[in-house]
Amino acid sequence: MSIKNNRFINLLNCLRLCFPVFAIFAGYGQEKDSVTDYRKLEEVVLWQERKSTEHTAVVPVQQLSGETLKRMSSLSVADAVRYFSGVQLKDYGGVGGLKTINVRSMGSEHTGVFYDGIRLGNAQNGQVDLGKYALDNLEEISLYNGQRPDAGQSAKAYASANTIYLQSRKPEFEEGEQWHLHSGIKTGSFGLFNPYLNLDYKINNRLSARVSTAYTYAHGRYKYRFTNGVYDTTATRENADIRALRLEGALYGTTGFNSKWFVKYYHYDSERGLPGAVVANRFYRPQRQWDKNDFVQGEYRQQFTDRYYAVFRAKYSKDYSRYFDPEIVTTSGFLDNRYHQESLYFSLSNSYRLTDFWKLGLAVDYENNTLDANLYRFAYPERNNYLVALTTNMDWPRLNLQGSLLSTTVKERVRYYERAEDRQEFTPTLMVGWQPFNSPNFRLRAYYKRIFRMPTFNDLYYTFVGNTFLNPEYTEQLNLGFSYKQQRDKYLLEFQGDVYKIGVKDKIVAVPGVNLFRWTMLNLGKVSTTGAEARVRWSGTTVGGLTYGMQFNYTWQEALDKTPGSSVYGNQIPYIPVHSGSANISASYRKWQLNYSFIYTGERYSQKANIPSNYLQPWYTHDIAARYELKVWENKMELSLAVNNLLNQYYDVIKNFPMPGRSYRLTINYTL
């Protein structure tokens, strides 16, 4: 039986699984349907579920949205999330360098990245390159530790240890407006040329469209310093160029019968140089990489009664990547690896309000992933994922209790060789929010979550390296926190603090085989992390009309290797600083806006042993940006200038992958 046929059967199974649920709830809904009910519903507009804010959420939430996002003048999501506490960005440097996020020392595979409500997957290596997602088309970035507590989510939303939600901009129109256009260009250091265009069009009262596109080119060259204290040389990063095209088109609609929907097409196509590690006698490498990502995704939300609504989501994606290495000459020419991933996803989530304070949810997801590669002895794996999440939310004025239970069923198939065993896992989450005093200004929160990440296709099947005996990598989190908020006429002050304990067991690590080329993956590592995070936010306006905002984040983390019998038992794990923090200060006065950002990452070790030869210096960068708004032909124009790494500090986030020194960026945009 071919893979395609199997997939169809899986889909049928999935629908069979979801349908009874859908039917029960739908049937219940129909009973109560009437014209008057509809009218009542429209007033209530229940699908605008009250979103949990940073202050009231039962888990730690950090958000960057709208103006704040604009002011920071970041180029990509990766630049922006660095300011969150508890986050380490793994940055290989430059415009095109891989950038992945590591939240609370669990490893990047444990962070789910969602784009408009649906997870961006990568079954091959479990990593999402946040450098690929530009901010031009984003409205909001949110990081949730544990899981997002909102109702009506897909089962996938409960399936990772922490999640980042990227919310793209939606068309919004002023009264009488038919269309508008926002366009701009970014340029500056690294030969950056980045024009972008966003167009919103109102087709009718119930239907609107948005097209967003951007092109990025950069030669990517920058100077860096290579020193040991005795030798001290400056070199130029070469083969770091990138060209990338992003195109998104989306339709947003509402119906006359209490539903709303959107469909989105996303296309990304890029070619980039891989500048490689800087080592003695070797400053240039010729390796290159191509990526092509296409997906279509949609969401349909139906309010059946004032108690019940359902959301249906679907996605089809195709990802292609190519790695080219002319330094490896095989019998069939240069090494040229090509990987094709395909994924099909359906989700149905139901939210039902049982009583005034009690809501139940049931979400059922199905996902199918395949990976093809032109590798020797490749297994051609296919994974079928079935997820069911049962959730309960109890919200009283001063107490919120939430719980969820996720069932994950994974069935794998391979065309050749061995396959990983099928799996069935149940994982719980419990979350509590409590307002202990009369004043809503002070809140306490706590959560417990146990979840795992599946071994990736690379972990299981990569030729010579993969190991099909692998178990999932489990994480267990316990978090306690508080939030204090004080709102006055002229200012808003917020304090948040969390302490946490995280255990990672059966960590999937590469261990050596016969030689350097023969590694294998094993469930070996154990990590125990104790951490604390503190955030202060303060914003307001002064008498002169100056608006200001500032935020300070501090993270303390002790992430210790607790692998039994290891020679590095008790050492801090690689690339996790004990101390890290960020500061952000902004001011706007009339047409001017100023922003200052600071990031500090303390000393770290590049490998497991905490010894001098693995020691990495702390690094800190100061970025400033100024923005000026003016009117040109009655329309808004903005000019902004950003200077990043103002003090020109040379540093590595990843050892031997030098980061750029001082750089400049100029942005001009115009809104019609």
Partner: protein
Amino acid sequence: MRIDFTEWSRYSAVLTCLLLVALTACRSDDPLESGGVFEPPASEEPGKSEGEVRGFYLLNEGNMGANKASLDFYDYTTETYISNVFSKANPELVGGLGDVGNDIAVYGSKLYVVVNVSNKVEVLDLHSGKRLGKIDVPNCRYITFYEGKAYLSAYLGEVALDPNAPNGMVAEIDTTSLQITRTVEVGRQPEELVGHEGKLYVANSGGYSPPDYETTLSVIDLDSFQETERIEVGMNLHRLKIDEEGDLYVSSRGDYYDNPARLYVVDTEDHKVKKSFDLAVSDMEIHKGIAYAIGVEFNFHTGQNTISYSKIDTRTESLLDDSFITDGTEEGIELPYGVAINPQTDEILLTDAGDYVSPGRLYCFSPDGVLQWTVTTGDIPAHIAFVVE
């Protein structure tokens, strides 16, 4: 709950200042590793006889991309182990020793260090460790010496970056001028080499094109510097040593799946395989009629490594029953990686690469396999070269 705003603002201002001061003050100058400079042993000591082993250099490979190849020195006269002697003797050399130290050898008064990913051979003064010269050869692997010349194998052929040139090469290097004098094309991804009676034997691996591995030794005539013959041996060849009788011991790594690793004996007179052993060899050394071999083989059906420490009598060409470790020390060895025998004392030196990303260990055993001493090394301790007076 009421909090006075002015008081908070004062606190936060103080906090901010403290924070900024603290943060900007904690980046020190790049720390050089402690331990001071490398002081080479005095070159002349009265009362020492010819053939006295003064010490040895140990090359730590360092994990790929880490730029952490390092050179250690053990001094038998003072019984001291000194780490990072290359960096201590040459602190001004940009980037240090480099990425993945692949081979080391002593010839005359010079020490040759082959650094694979850094595409170079460092030529050092044997006693001071100071650089005498550097030879750039892309993807260089192993080095050997024969009648005043150095021979270096390299994965990348004579014509760089040509998709139709998968073959590797051997470069001949003048040991006085340190210049490449001649090159010759051999099989794909050549590994170790041995010179014997006017010929050079090179183990070809073909490791870049699985499952299409090479199965031959290249034979190079050293007068004409031409490849004259290929000897059919076995799949994916790697180690190559010669015994006193002129027999070549060649390790075959197999394909890591269905074809197991083996060890072959090749006669240099008729260029034929005369014997083979069902034995995985990841490193070996022949000394006084005994081949000491360490083997690590991964089994895909069990997901486990099988480790062996074997002895082969090269005169009878038979595998001896006993392991060369006899005191149970092997229990604590995670991944044996390199083996060498002290030519004077017959002591066995064995390295443990551990998990490849943490410092390894060096073990010294008496000739009858009892642990004498052990020391922590750099990352992936692998290759040893003795300094003989």
